[in-house]
Amino acid sequence: MADKKKPNSADDRPQETDRQFLERYSIGTLMKDVLGKIVSNRPKDPITFLSDYFDSLEDQSNLVLKARNIIEMTHHSRPVFEMNVRQAYDIMLKQKVGKRLYGVNGTSYTDLIKTLCRDMPQPVTTKLLKKIECLDYEAITFDVFKSGVFTCCVLQDYVKLCEMLFNSLDFQSSGKVDKILSDVVNEQLKAALANTRTDARNPYTGQTDPFSLSIVEAGYNLGPDGLFYALERGMRSKSQLGGQTLEQFTIEICDAFLSKVKRLR
């Protein structure tokens, strides 16, 4: 009996109810958070999602990493993505910028972009930053933040797709792609992207540019027919331009993507 009254004794611990134990480490809130995130993000692989989430809990001190983890929780095509971006922005708003000044400035924005693009070849990241970077002292509004983050996430998908394309073009599985083929493919893609302009309808006259036929034409050029003729033309030329590695190939194909990224004014 006397044992029970002694505080901090090892024997005391088992007397603590389960509830108190959980509360000591605020496991309850932790579980609630993670379950909430699983339900709203609906990941394809919940177990990996859970393990990544708990891993990332250690990065709590670095706001940029915390924001990045939230952004990468779900694919950019899902509606929850926008909510996650908003949450990430709110987290980064707590960053101290100056004396008693908090917010998202150019440095933290650039840091976030860089870490989102960590899996891409460095030249691609540099070119992207040239287009969407902000000066260190500038204040970043949510609109600009969202647009930049979205561009990065789409670029992540794009780079993964480039790899798939590289493997398809690598006919002999040699790890290199003929430069001729890569040039042909790049040209077709650039032509398609140049044709489809986003500002199709003139708001003053209400007339459309010759927009719809261009989309059909661009689609044809990228379809099996047009692609075959272009590749055949390319292969007929006898010049040997050597091979390209995956990284070089990715850098070139990403040029087409980056040409569509709007430069920040």
Partner: protein, 236 residues
């Protein structure tokens, strides 16, 4: 040439009335005067006159007009180089019926295009045109024509551009065509044309998606010619 309307100045319709001190009644007849840009010709050195070479088609939207007549004034043929000759008004379109029954709605707000075939004679070298609107029915408070346009000729002078050959190819042969293409590709050493094509199309789609979602807001920079210099900022 048939696409753009002719330049002309269209005056407001004038209601013709027959008045005397006791009775004034609505005659139901309006006249629209149309004149053309002034062209000074070497013959009449005094005053530039309105002149139009040719009118092929007249288009307008009706608003409760029952009949329309068109009269044209020909360019006067000068006699002896001094005086202008007789000016004649000739009726080109005589009382064309726009509304099958003037009291009823039908045809009251239709679009009409009067073409060369309906003219009594070819309109060429005219100096003015009068369009006479008639509405005998007392039911309608107001009648007029809207959006009046004159065109030089009623035929389209240019054919629409021909469609590219691949757009008009027969879709019935598509599966056979696909197989043919695949074998051709394999012969050339391209084993998986379809997967290359679909990857490219996905890349295209991703780029377009990204381009559409670009932010339109400005970041609020105050740069002048690419450099930020406080002294260069305007006070406005």
């Amino acid at each position: 040439m048939g696409d753009r309307p002719l330049h002309c100045s269209i005056k407001n319709p004038i209601l013709l009335t027959v008045e005397d001190q006791k009775n004034a009644f609505h005659s139901g007849c309006k006249v629209i005067d149309v004149t053309f840009p002034n062209v000074s010709s070497p013959e009449t050195q005094t005053v530039p006159i309105s002149f139009c070479e040719r009118v092929g088609e007249i288009c307008f939207k009706n608003y409760y007009t029952a009949y329309v007549s068109i009269r044209v004034k020909f360019k006067a043929a000068p006699e002896n180089g001094a005086e202008s000759g007789e000016i004649k008004w000739k009726t080109c379109v005589r009382r064309m019926r726009l509304m099958p029954s003037p009291h009823k709605e039908s045809g009251s707000q239709d679009y009409f295009a009067i073409s060369k075939k309906q003219f009594s004679f070819d309109i060429s070298n005219i100096s003015a045109m009068r369009i006479i609107l008639q509405q005998p029915s007392p039911v309608w408070k107001e009648f007029r024509i809207e959006d009046l346009r004159l065109y030089r000729s009623s035929e389209m002078l240019s054919k629409p551009p021909p469609l590219p050959a691949w757009l008009t190819e027969d879709s019935a042969n598509s599966t056979k065509h696909k197989l043919e293409l695949q074998t051709k590709a394999k012969e050339k050493g391209i084993p998986n044309l379809e997967s290359i094509s679909s990857s490219l199309q996905e890349l295209w789609g991703l780029s377009e998606e990204m381009a559409i979602n670009q932010s339109k807001t400005e970041i609020g920079r105050y740069e002048v010619d690419g450099c930020y210099e406080v002294n260069l900022l305007a006070y406005t």
